[in-house]
Subunit: 267 residues, 4 copies
């Protein structure tokens, strides 16, 4: 921490906010630093070189986002539109510092929404037989677009292990339950049948183990005996939206560090 | 509803609050009525008789609590004291309209607390061999004391199916997780290992299926990567206390109706 | 309650949910009943007549909404669009059982949004000199459209006392603070200056006393020293949306009864 | 930050957690560092000397708490006992790393509680005429006991400006409302009369302006039309307890920095 702060200072960087955490059990140290570069005295190359030198010395993994480096985001959807609307409207309102470069779907239904926001809507219908081919084509498109983050905004297809493995900690999924409760399909129906008094949503990085990836954000909302499954679906839409948006924003601001099966979230 | 309201009115009862619910799926109608009896024109026997007549006509189960009818409560504990303190202090503060007639435990540790509040502390050490005998003795004591409600305030023994079946919807347990997540033992350790961003507690009626009984109340509290298991335990104590106290109060005020594996809670 | 339930039953109405409340201090009794009319044995006129007869006998005010009676809603906006989007999208998603018949604004900016949802966007620029005339024209339009409910979705003009008085308990305003904290303008700036750890929003019926009308719904969200005014504005948009939507839905479902300066909300 | 980290490192201190914040508006930089001293290579004097040297160079105010440095706490109470019980039980449960050296009160009522926990209960009856003298005697006792923190746990007397000024940012008060709503007396009655849908509590440092000090922590709880003033008092006790305990714990762990009329809370 001292050496890195010294480097930042030495190059004219002014630390605005910083956050550190030691995971004693894992023997890991995490750090996020936000630097004011107005008085930077060196260029990017030498600045990054100096950081790299410190990082190598202390065996640190590191990543830097420069002011103009907007992450490039693709949103995967199926037929539910509430998360897509929410993400696109928040982006337009300036809540997400990114470029949304594609909406991808196994259905054409939501194309008018994407179009309205000037985002290409790419349809890849998936069947058991075509899945492998279609995923290959999807990856070509994603890589061609230089996508940094994939957001599964209620995408109702299970991605293959191969696909998921290609984007480690770069796919955020919203699961419509308070994981690990109600894994798998139809969690609101499961919640209704169990008679829980709260329902929730979970945003997590997708891993090859479905619903088991590192959790980024969770929230819940109260329910009661008066709530039908339809009411749970309605309440759930709100909490899904909020949880997904918060996870995406934190990821975009480099506040989330995944390590093993957990996340550090520097809020 | 009309007939019952008519009977209450006809005997001089003045309805203060009422709440009704129809569970369309189960084909069940639920109702809770709070009546001002200041101008009751008949005696208890004829009042109850009239209600019973209506209830029989419409195949309703019913229950009445008269103003002086304080429920008699036994609290089961082991070594954790936070829920016991909380229940006894709330009782003294007038939050629970009941009599606490016994604390029962498999350990003597918390006796000074019970004694301080003037409640007998009965110790029944449990081993695999003695469990059956001890439960029989516990039931004798409970029945001798006329206990209406058993509160498992972090009681660390599993009650036998026979014991539980003897007090249907009259045993409230606090489970230290947001069920159905993290069933079984050491839920805070499970939560820590899974890296969840919220932990919770669940108050439910005990049934022969452990952790599967009708849920009365749940709540959660935020956690972060900074929280150790010890922090989760501390945060958990607060939410356990709050959830258990709310479930107990609602039960004592006849606000909870269990039906199949769910509850209607008229708050 | 008995007489009314008797009347409903006598005409073949099947009570699905009901909720009653006595405000002892005010000496008022409130009741909401939801009735299944599938087996109604009489026509509307005689059904309403029978209710009216009971109501008169017990000096009750009453209101009935028949299944097809969709309330007609006008939304007032200025330049902030988040509440408008939210209301229109929820309406399209089937969350509001109403017809949105007009968007009215002192600015043309949000017209594309209204148009997209097929709702007329009526612009009434307001200056100190024209306010009285413009409000008269607005009222003509509202009354011509048969508007039942006016939603002030971050409408930045103060309505005159005369206007407000014309729609008693039929104008819902969203105030961007947890009232009565931070009344008046720029509440997020006030909150920032005061250093509060939570910010909130309040939906209330508009009355001639600004920010003093009966409160329908409130919620809060956590803030910290890291939040700038801009962050508060962003967090505030979410809580404003949620609070306004919940108040509107409860009003549309006839769950809200205003009495003096308070509301009964039968959820 | 670099220089300080260098000093800590140079003396063998291992940074476990750190948190920094820049208040751009105020032009202030705040930092909290938790250091593992297991491998400290120098003694306290030289370690502190080195920190002092850096601090002076950068015009920083600083404070260090060594592992054994338990803060000494006095709790002020009147007749409400819920916060006192809560603080003493949490202390016994190991939630507060401090010594509670005195309970001080204008009434003898709660003496049995203090005594039970082995804490001296000092009674200073206050009248308008004796206030000045009694506060002087209280301050003598506090200073004699070496008190670091005064907790006003529902202490119903207003401390004089002179008294408050003697312990800057060392007196934590719990106000039973969500400030700045409902300042002054009887906030639950005010909340009831206004018909709010949430009530709250606020822990803040006491300043000479009553209810205007820097806010440390706030929380709220939902209420409804069914809640009487008595219900609000009951719900309020829970939220008061939770908010006060969290503020006290954060203060004891040196997580709170007051600056002007706000706090930075490094959680």
């Amino acid at each position: 921490m001292a050496s890195l702060a010294q480097v930042l200072h030495g190059h004219g960087g002014n630390i605005l906010d910083a956050d550190q955490h030691t995971d004693v059990g894992a023997g890991q140290f995490f750090q996020r630093i936000r630097v004011d570069l107005a008085e930077l005295t060196s260029d990017r190359t030498s600045f990054e070189g100096a950081i790299a030198e410190v990082a190598e010395r202390f065996h640190m993994e590191w990543h830097i986002t420069w002011p103009g480096d907007k992450k490039r985001v693709a949103i995967f959807v199926s037929r539910y539109d509430h998360c897509l609307w929410d993400l696109l409207l928040r982006h337009r309102a300036g809540e997400f510092d990114c470029e949304i470069v594609a909406v991808m779907s196994n259905h054409p239904d939501l194309e008018p929404i994407s179009t309205q926001f000037g985002v290409g809507h790419h349809v890849f219908p998936i069947t058991k037989d075509t899945k492998s081919d279609q995923e290959r084509r999807e990856r070509e498109l994603l890589d061609g677009l230089g996508v940094d983050l994939i957001v599964l905004a209620r995408y109702m297809q299970v991605l293959s292990g191969e696909f998921v493995a290609a984007y480690p900690n770069r796919i955020i999924n919203i699961h419509h339950s308070f994981l690990p409760a109600f894994m798998g399909g139809k969690p609101y129906h499961q919640a209704f049948d169990r008679g829980v008094k709260l329902i929730g949503a979970t945003a997590h990085y997708a891993t090859t183990d479905l619903d088991e990836g590192p959790i980024i954000e969770q929230a819940v909302v109260r329910t009661s005996h008066r709530d039908s499954v339809k009411d749970l679906l309605r309440k759930g839409r709100d909490v899904e939206r909020m949880v997904l948006a918060k996870a995406v924003r934190n990821h975009l601001e480099d506040r989330v560090i995944a390590c093993a099966n957990k996340t550090v979230v520097f809020e």
